[in-house]
Amino acid sequence: MRTITYGQAISEALREEMLRDRSVLIMGEDMGVLGSVFGLTKGFLEEFGPLRVIDTPISESSFTGMAVGAAMRGLRPVVEIMYVDFTPVCMDAIVNQAAKMCYMTGGQISVPLVIRAPGGAGRRNAGQHSQSLEALFTHIPGLKVIAPATPYDAKGLLKSAIRDPDPVVCIEHKLLYATRGEVPEEEHLVPLGKAEIKRKGRDVTVICYSRQVLFALEAAEELSAEGIEAEIVDLRTLVPLDWAAIESSVKKTHRVVVVQEAVKRGGYAAEIAAQVMENAFDYLDAPVKRVAGLNVIPPFSPGLEDLIYPHKQDIMQGVREVLR
């Protein structure tokens, strides 16, 4: 199979869906002439024209609201919020409009909208360009949330999200854009709501998503040398959650570590840990361990920034603790 980058995978997903379905359009800051700040939509403006590749002004609140309106009318807008840190600017459109429209109108209106929001730390972008805010969206009924870790999943999940009738928030880690992986040339979809066992193991279940999947896989390789076999469950989709995949792994290993880059307090890992405790307590041989970011604002200074989110060593340490 050929190998492409995560960024190319996103770009292919967008382009293929725009070719497949004339109702798909993309809008956001610098998506057209520049081809997006991460270079994902280069050439799209020439190929699809300014009515389907829309360079918006810096008006997140209103252009996200416009995308909701366009989606209510049957189009399938894919909005890029340049950094997930900017989504609080347009939270009303996402939380009060897109998420609730179907329910509050008694099922009359669906909002087939995708919001792509690059997140994550590690690029020395400081406090307002480096956060992991997925927990904000997982808390809102009516939204679906995906956080792919590999080019294969990024392409397949984004294509499924674009075809989905409901609003989907797609969190792409900025430091994944340049990572490479195998992606088939032919059409391929990854369904929403399906986790994947990225590595099989018998001793401990490591539940993770987005960039932390890569760290978890590295950690698992080193742990294997120590005789510990970790099973890596990549959630891929945060909402709806693939509980069946978690449960079957927990029943096998009896020990759970949940990993997230986001700050620990109020994070999605807490939700996973709580569900494991509520629904699979009898299978546990140790308390569920969370390995997560510090409860701080991402600092600029390189030496400091690298301290705020988990790395391979932190995951290995977490695994050793639940095995003690």
């Binding site: 416009m66 366009a70 009060n96 959650l241």
Partner: protein, 331 residues
């Protein structure tokens, strides 16, 4: 107010539409005072001419977004008084199966993209609908109703800016009823006419008498003509007044008594009736018959609503996601 240029049928039709809204709202207020309706009710008594003048200038295939004070907008766009009343009662026969209530009535088949509980949120949604019409190459316009309060939100400015930059077929219709809840517009805004803000976006802005249904009709018809012709948005400020509180039960301590009295004398429904009688376009008997017919319609709507069942308990988890979705309430 002049009826010049409007024929008898039109004037009587406008009167009928305005009176339907008035009677619906007065009934809703009464039901609320009798504790038969829960939550909040925001009536548009005194603002009927804006809803009717605007919607009568639109085509059935055009779209609107309404506000939290949206009963009049929905009725004027063709909303079914029975389904609206049922929604106010939280019944399953309501427009939103009892899940939206007074502030969220929508009927996509009539082009009503929803009333909205968030001030200003309908403006970008309307612009998005207009964008969809443009992309799909359809000859439709979308009209956003909003209040003077919403004219101070970021969404107003961002939305007007984009709609004007891209010549979207959207009409921004500000119902300036002078108060954002309790705060008089003059205390929070320096410009005397909100329509002046159109200058900042390079589009026409007109201030009209919002209690004159004909003036509203003419302004919206002209804005719709421009929008359909690819000339982009128009900002219309319809100066009007809400006779009742922000919500039912609001003691309105913030309004001078003389002001309330002055505006009651300019009641748009009574004013139009007077005009029709003065000009001999219809007699007392004909207008009385219309009123009786509408009273009956509203009574029947209340009966329908009261006789309808509450939603089944299973409905509580339905519609969080679209019908063709397999998850229901996602884990």
């Amino acid at each position: 107010m002049k009826t010049g240029g409007y024929d008898r049928e039109t004037a009587v039709k406008f009167y009928r539409e305005m009176l339907r809204i008035r009677l619906f709202e007065m009934k809703a207020a009464e039901l609320f005072s009798r504790a038969l309706l829960a939550g909040n009710i925001h009536t548009c008594v005194g603002q009927e001419a804006v809803a009717v003048g605007a919607c009568q200038a639109l085509r059935p295939g055009d779209y609107i977004t309404a506000t939290h004070r949206g009963h009049g907008h929905c009725l004027a766009k063709g909303g079914d008084s029975r389904k609206m009343m049922a929604e106010l009662f939280g019944k399953s026969a309501g427009y939103c199966r009892g899940k939206g209530g007074s502030m969220h009535i929508a009927d996509v088949s009539l082009g009503i993209l929803g009333a909205n509980g968030i001030v200003g949120a309908g403006l970008p949604i309307a612009a998005g609908s207009a964008l969809a019409s443009k992309i799909m190459g359809k000859d439709e316009v979308t009209l956003a109703f909003f209040g003077d309060g919403a004219s101070n939100t970021g969404n107003f400015h961002e939305s007007l800016n984009m709609a004007s930059a891209w010549n979207l077929p959207v009409i921004y219709l500000c119902e300036n009823n002078r108060y954002g809840v309790s705060v008089c517009i003059e205390r929070v805004t320096r410009v005397s006419n909100l329509a002046e803000r159109a200058k900042a976006y390079g589009i026409p802005g007109v201030t009209i008498d919002g209690n004159d249904v004909f003036a509203v009709h003419e302004a919206v018809a002209e804005a719709a003509r421009r929008a359909r012709g690819g000339e982009g948005p128009t900002l219309i400020e319809a100066v009007t007044y809400r006779h009742r509180g922000h919500y039912e039960g609001d003691p309105q301590v913030y309004k001078p008594k003389e002001e309330i009295q002055e505006w009651k004398e300019r009641d748009p429904v009574a004013g139009l009736k007077r005009k029709i009688l003065e000009e001999g376009l219809a007699g007392d008997e004909e207008l009385g018959a219309i009123e009786n017919e509408l009273r009956l319609e509203i009574e029947e709507a209340v009966e329908f609503a009261m006789d309808s069942p509450y939603p089944d308990a299973a409905q509580v988890t339905a519609d969080v996601y679209s019908k063709d979705n397999e998850w229901g309430v996602a884990r």
